[in-house]
């Protein structure tokens, strides 16, 4: 029996009569994580993992939300539902669905790499695994988070020594907090954009230790300190008056897309840091292998590539048409424009209108 199908409004579990990450309003929505291409407003009831509650509420406002701890299970219409860490961002979950002895897992977005800000990805044995493929090409292989932190600190230190602020663009939810955790506070002050600090509050509330940061209005008084600062801001802040207050500064961008030189050059920033919250090519294969699924369904990213590769490797694979991204390679192409700054700089731009989270970033 098909436990999860793709419907025009989102992924749907027919025996359980609920949706997973629907892109149109539905009655019951299980949310894998709070990035706005997965968590959209308008549904009647929401369910999500405990850790992400504050951020999700911060983004969707006053919603009817039921939270579950990882591994906790409940049964709804005879379907056993549980949430398991996906390692993508704080509170991100794989949705395990069990019905009449069959197990399917919808993983949302996930990564296998180290990340001090969220619980690590946990392989969940299943018959059918629903996966992303944002970076589903062998050219995408990530360095460890420690190496990236070293690179960012070295860049920051060099700029600070030269008396220039370092403005690092990164997505406000997930990436920014991961970067924050790796910063060497001895180099200088850390300044964050309001959109980043809004999310930081949710992280601190969930018990994630973040280094002390300054809001820009707090930092501005000490001009000399500002020139040694690192500034974390969402990509949409680039070229705005908000950024101009840092004067002659170096800028960088942290995203998996920075792996490719063309994407770096299109961004036009001084430095690209290849830091992603999505699985790289080996990560996708490890995750798929670890859950032991005999069938895989690919939802977004490099869909045809992963489907073909899996089929050639003897794993039955197919695609679901979803709104989590347009198609295989749209992410890097649209990443240059503010309107294309999709939910998660690693995620695909959507055809949907700008969400609340983006207007929040643009402030």
């Amino acid at each position: 029996m098909e436990l999860i199908v793709a419907r025009p409004e989102g992924l749907y579990c027919p025996p359980g009569d609920f949706h997973i990450d629907p892109w149109r309003p539905v009655d019951r929505a299980v949310i894998t994580h709070a990035h706005s291409d997965h968590a959209r407003s308008g549904s009647r009831h929401y369910m999500a993992a405990q850790g992400g509650e504050a951020v999700l509420r911060g983004r969707l406002g006053d919603i009817d939300l039921q939270v579950m701890a990882y591994g906790e299970a409940l049964t709804h219409n005879g379907v056993r539902i549980s949430l398991h860490p996906a390692g993508h961002v704080l509170g991100s979950a794989q949705v395990r669905v069990e019905y009449q002895g069959e197990v399917w897992v919808a993983s949302g977005d996930y990564k296998l790499g180290d990340d001090p800000t969220c619980a690590p990805f946990e392989p969940v044995p299943c018959e059918v695994f629903i996966t992303e493929s944002t970076f589903g090409l062998p050219i995408y292989r990530w360095e460890s988070g420690d190496v990236l932190a070293e690179q960012i600190n070295a860049w920051w230190a060099a700029n600070a020594a030269a008396g220039r602020a370092s403005v690092l663009y990164c997505y406000a939810f997930g990436k920014a907090q991961r970067v924050l955790c790796g910063l060497d506070t001895g180099i200088g002050p850390i300044v964050v954009h309001g959109a980043v600090e809004n999310v930081n509050r949710g992280y601190r509330a969930a018990g994630v230790a973040l280094p002390p940061v300054l809001r820009v209005d707090e930092a501005q008084a000490d001009k000399a300190a500002l020139r040694r600062a690192i500034v974390l801001a969402p990509p949409s802040a680039r070229g705005t008056s908000w950024t101009r207050r840092f004067g002659d500064h170096a800028d960088g961008f942290a995203s998996g897309w920075m792996q490719v030189r063309g994407a770096r050059r299109r961004r036009g920033v001084d430095r690209g840091f290849v830091l992603s919250d999505h699985a790289d090519w080996p990560g996708l294969q490890t995750a798929i292998g670890a859950c032991g699924a005999s069938r895989v369904i690919v939802t977004h990213g490099q869909v045809p590539v992963l489907v073909r590769w899996l089929n050639e490797a003897g794993i039955s694979a197919q695609a679901f048409d979803t709104a989590y991204g347009d198609e295989e390679d749209e992410g890097p192409s649209a990443s240059g424009s503010a309107e294309g700054a999709a939910d998660g700089d690693d995620a695909r731009p959507r055809a949907e209108p700008a969400s609340a989270s983006e207007s929040e970033e643009a402030q």
């Binding site: 090409l137 050219i139 063309g262 299109r266 001084d270 073909r308 390679d329 890097p332 424009s337």
Partner: protein
Amino acid sequence: MKAFAELYARLDATTSSNAKLAAMCDYFRAAPPADAAWAAYFLAGGKPRQLVPVKLLRQYVMTASGITEWLYEECYQAVGDMAETLSLLLPEPGVADDAGLAEWVEQRLLPLRGLPPEEVLTRLASLFDRLDAHGRFVCAKLITGSMRVGVSKLLLTRALATVAGVEATHMAQRLIGYTDIGARPAPQAYLDLLAPESFDAEARSDGQPYPFFLAHPLAVPLDRLPDLLGPTSDWLVEWKWDGIRAQVVRRAGQTWVWSRGEELVSERFPELLRLGELLSDGTVIDGEIVVWREGRVQPFAQLQRRLGRKNVGARLLADAPVVLLAYDLLELEGVDMRSQPQAARRAALERLADQIAHRSHAEGLRGGGPEADEPHELAPDLARAPPSFLVLSPLLHGDDWTALEAQRAESRALGVEGMMLKAAGSTYGVGRTRETGIWWKWKIDPYSIDAVLIYAQRGHGRRASLYTDYTFAVWDGPPQSKERRLVPFAKAYSGLTDEEIRAVDAIVRKTTVEKFGPVRSVEPSQVFELGFEGISRSTRHKSGVAVRFPRMLRWRQDKGVADADTLQTLSELLPS
């Protein structure tokens, strides 16, 4: 190799010219001459002949990374650059070694050429194992010969001039010919580049041309010309010829013909070697190579037939004879004329043209004519061609700009691209300098036609993974014809802003009908105004016409596909 790879990384990491200049100066000051010689060669755009066939390099990457051909192709399409694809796909390297750039190029890379494929594959595996990801990228760039890193030749020239402590113009002159395809930059050649100032005068015995002086486009309305340019009498006005810019250099009893790309093209134009024989040693003429028949310039398409081949047959020589339309004299009797005013150089050129006509006439009487006893060694048929291969580019006159504008309107009928305006007092600069006088190109508007986007292909480099290269079509029948179809006639990839490119890219993705490898066919929905410089009949194109320098002038979002032009409109533009 490591130092050079680091230089590449520094150049790649910044868009600032000053930062690039500093990076190059640092490198050249520290690098051993043997390595620096090659670095200057590659940065100046030098490319050795193909070392490894691309197919073989690709095969190596697929084997080493254990991926199939289709998956490799997907990766390449996402990256848009072969060298980078390679560096992103190869497995972790072994231990790096310290060999310098020269050793890499001379001992490791150049010997790859012509080896049996099996041997090449074995050697590539061992070579790439000694490089980190960035070194691999740069090394593959050297192998594939596409070293673009945002360094213009001018910038490299400035860097070397700074390091050597000489004028940039002199460095430009020294660099000419440095990147010839057969060149093997030796340490001494590099040290010669860096020699003190006096070196230049001594070394003028070879065939080096001068750096070309280039024109700036003039795009202001007629009524503003008097304010901008003053009276027409301050200017030498000529037609802007549609040919190949070239210098004919005569020194030490030899002739060299250089094209604007600083490529030596002597062998392709035996007519100009013949012209050289009529020149005294120490003469350099600047002009335009064109196909010339019955006293007028022929379309560029005719000249293109001469470019494709190294050895020019007798038939082609007779069909498409060339002349040099001379417009400047850079050296006379061994003296550099470039600092003399334009008008003085022109007067000297006219005297020289008279002398040449005289000499060639005399030579014709002596035995250059049809009954010549000894056929010309390069091309026997030349003896029957016109006696001189030099035509003075005529000066045009008009009392005011309006009068010149009226003449300019005749450009298309005369087969020229518009007019050149050269300040009478200007010296001959280097490249696009404008400090000591200026040349303007006052071109006529291009042909334009409204065409429909029907295929799109992803671009390369900065445009990788964006659909930026388009094929355009026009209708094969009038609007009332029900069964008319769109016929492709031109490809274009320039003319849109980044924002427009993104918008078109999104439309391409949404309206894709079919994918063929990197190409997509789309539902015809978008109309663009295409501009082009020339049009000729072609048997190789489905549409029956070929256009020159097509590019997008405007995205006509106000037009529907039914409003696009037809083959009929296109063929009305053909020269009669």
